[in-house]
């Protein structure tokens, strides 16, 4: 499984990365591999404020549909529109072209308590 060392992780397999003053989130390589071929990604409206742990969207693969959970509370500033035409980007580049949302964090300290790349790798490896 690929791990982005610059990101932090949620136990529910979302990653978050600081980019400038904003945060970016998508799902991990482990998550995209478990889901299989992704056929649909539903993302929130820009401007929406979502709390940590609440669903910000839905990812649907040939196998299953799963809610996507906000790893850090915040207000959406951008969503990855490329995913509506090519959701398989999440399979091919989970940490790059397959990003899902950008947001300003309401409480950036929530980022600091997320799993480190090493801790997430150990956690996901158990599955």
């Amino acid at each position: 499984m690929d791990i982005d060392k610059n990101a932090r992780y949620a136990a529910s397999h979302e990653w978050a990365r600081k980019e400038g003053s904003d945060f970016v989130t998508g799902i991990s390589d482990h998550a995209q591999h478990s889901l299989g071929d992704i056929v649909f990604v539903e993302l929130p409206a820009v401007g929406k404020t979502i709390k940590k742990g609440e669903a910000f969207g839905v990812v649907e693969s040939v196998k299953a549909a799963s809610d996507l959970y906000m790893p850090v509370s915040g207000t959406i500033t951008a969503v990855n529109d490329a995913l509506s035409g090519d959701p398989a980007l999440v399979n091919r580049e989970p940490y790059a072209g397959g990003w899902m949302i950008k947001y300003t964090a309401a409480n950036p300290s929530e980022f600091d308590v997320m799993l480190s790349p090493e801790a997430y790798e150990a956690e996901a490896g158990k599955e």
């Binding site: 478990s34 299989g36 056929v39 649909f40 040939v62 196998k63 299953a64 959701p87 599955e127």
Partner: protein, 477 residues
């Protein structure tokens, strides 16, 4: 199997060809109203023999329990005895009409009354409704009953339904349809409900819990009574998902485990046909606390006569007329053939077959929870590098077996959910286990044989991504 792909009826069509030559018209011709004529309706033009061959060939390509083994987890694809069909074909049942009135349908009502009675006895329920037409329909009935119960007690704020993470996807979907909120309860290391998480979730917004026992992991929920007590003490009710009743029918009374309302699938446990889209019956049974809320009408006996009646606080109708009556006849025939002792042996043999098969399969495939299973078990298909459960499933088709349910339950990676049922012989179970063993060997020596499977079918591996993203839903000429 005939491996030639069958053309569409449209592709067999030839202009002007027809199956019937109508006699000369002996009344004055009247033109059809112009506004009702549609030029774009291109219907295929075929002769009778072509039509007969087309549909016969299609029927021969069917994968059916009458031709091959079908160990589809959570679906209880048991044999559907032909005696059931004989009973259902009787002209008295076949020609009964729902608008004939109770007086002219006493036989049909008596059968429904007796079936209600037998099903109530298998669950310990005080009353039963035969209305719902499928398992998820039965779930909706049960959840609406629970919602109505809380409203009737002046507690409409009870809107949270607790659902274990191993549950069928229909459970949360049902709650969404009923306008309730879902809180997911994680599983513990043993595959049971995490009791600490359940305790923490039991507050005064709880409407109830939806629980499947045995669970979709094929495991008996050992803490069932404690779970029911926690939820009851918090003021909630217990919904039992009876999809897995085949493992416990005739042995355990769900009401004694604390279940307040439950559905069974007559098209699973009670041997009526399914897999072709129905029709099914997801009857609901209720403990006294919820019996007045059952959907109706139900059949009651008044003196010597039978009549339809709405339960006192019924959530109303869920189905036109009286449910899928033909299925009820088949289930009643089955119940009477089996009797209480037979029902118990049915469940015992379902569990025995599953444990026998699990014992063989777990020598080659990982099994997530190794403890003794009930009527089904969950193995994992990642037997070699680069091989996934989908590859195993597709290769099984080449060996003449229907693949098990795959990638469910969601909490087991690469899941293969195998339910043998009690109606299969040891020889069939052995043949299936041998196929799985041979496929595991092929996975190491000839992995592409699996990646490209199935080979022995009219069409090969289908592009599921394209099917989901760019479906072609009608013939385009």
């Amino acid at each position: 199997m005939n491996l030639t792909p069958e053309p569409l009826a449209y592709e067999l069509s030839r202009p002007g060809r027809m199956g019937t030559v109508l006699p000369a018209c002996d009344v004055p011709e009247t033109a059809l109203p112009k506004n009702l004529l549609r030029a774009e309706l291109s219907l295929p033009e075929l002769d009778e023999l072509t039509v007969v061959r087309h549909f016969t060939r299609l029927s021969q390509k069917n994968f059916a329990i009458d031709t091959q083994y079908y160990p589809l987890g959570s679906c209880t694809m048991k044999y559907n005895p032909k005696a059931n069909e004989q009973a259902a074909f009787h002209p008295g049942w076949r020609n009964a009409h729902p608008l004939a009135g109770d007086a002219h349908n006493q036989g049909a009502l008596e059968l429904m009354y007796r079936l209600q009675d037998s099903l109530a006895a298998t669950g310990g329920f005080s009353a039963v409704s035969l209305q719902p037409a499928a398992g998820a329909h039965g779930e909706l009935a049960g959840v609406l009953m629970i919602r109505e119960y809380h409203r009737s007690r002046g507690q409409p704020q009870r809107r949270t339904m607790l659902i274990p993470d191993s549950a069928h996807g229909t459970n949360p979907a049902t709650c969404a349809m009923a306008g309730l909120d879902v809180v997911t309860i994680p599983s513990d290391a043993e595959g049971g409900v995490d009791m600490d998480a359940l305790r923490a979730a039991c507050d005064d917004t709880v409407a109830g819990i939806m629980i499947t026992n045995p669970s979709t992991l094929g495991l008996f929920e050992r803490n069932m009574e404690a779970i029911a007590k926690l939820v009851h003490d918090a003021g909630g009710l217990v919904y039992g998902d009876g999809a897995n009743m085949n493992a416990i029918a005739g042995i355990v009374l769900p009401v004694e485990l604390g279940v307040d309302v439950m559905h069974y699938n007559l098209h699973k446990t009670f041997s009526t046909p399914h897999g072709g889209g129905g029709p099914g019956v997801g009857m609901v049974g209720a403990a006294p606390v919820l019996a007045p809320f059952l959907p109706g009408p139900v059949v009651v006996k008044k003196g010597d006569a039978y009549a339809f009646e709405m339960p006192a606080k019924s959530i109303g109708r869920l189905k036109s007329f009286y449910g899928n009556f033909g299925v009820l006849v088949r289930a009643y025939a089955y119940v009477r053939m089996m009797g209480a002792d037979g029902m118990r042996r049915m469940a015992e043999n379902a569990v025995l077959n599953a444990n026998y098969l699990k014992h063989r399969v777990e020598k080659t495939y990982k099994v997530k929870y190794p403890r003794r299973c009930m009527h089904e078990f969950v193995a994992m298909g990642d037997v070699a590098e680069g091989i996934r459960t989908l590859d195993i499933a597709k290769r099984l088709i080449d060996y003449g077996f229907h693949p098990p349910t795959i990638y469910f339950p969601l909490i087991v990676p690469e899941a293969m959910m195998i339910e043998p049922t009690e109606t299969e012989s040891k020889e069939t179970l052995d043949a299936f286990a041998e196929a799985l063993e041979r496929i595991a060997a092929e996975a190491r020596t000839e992995p592409d044989l699996l990646h490209d499977a199935p080979h022995n079918t009219p069409v090969g591996r289908l592009d599921e991504v394209a099917a989901a993203r760019c479906p072609i839903l009608c013939y385009r000429g």
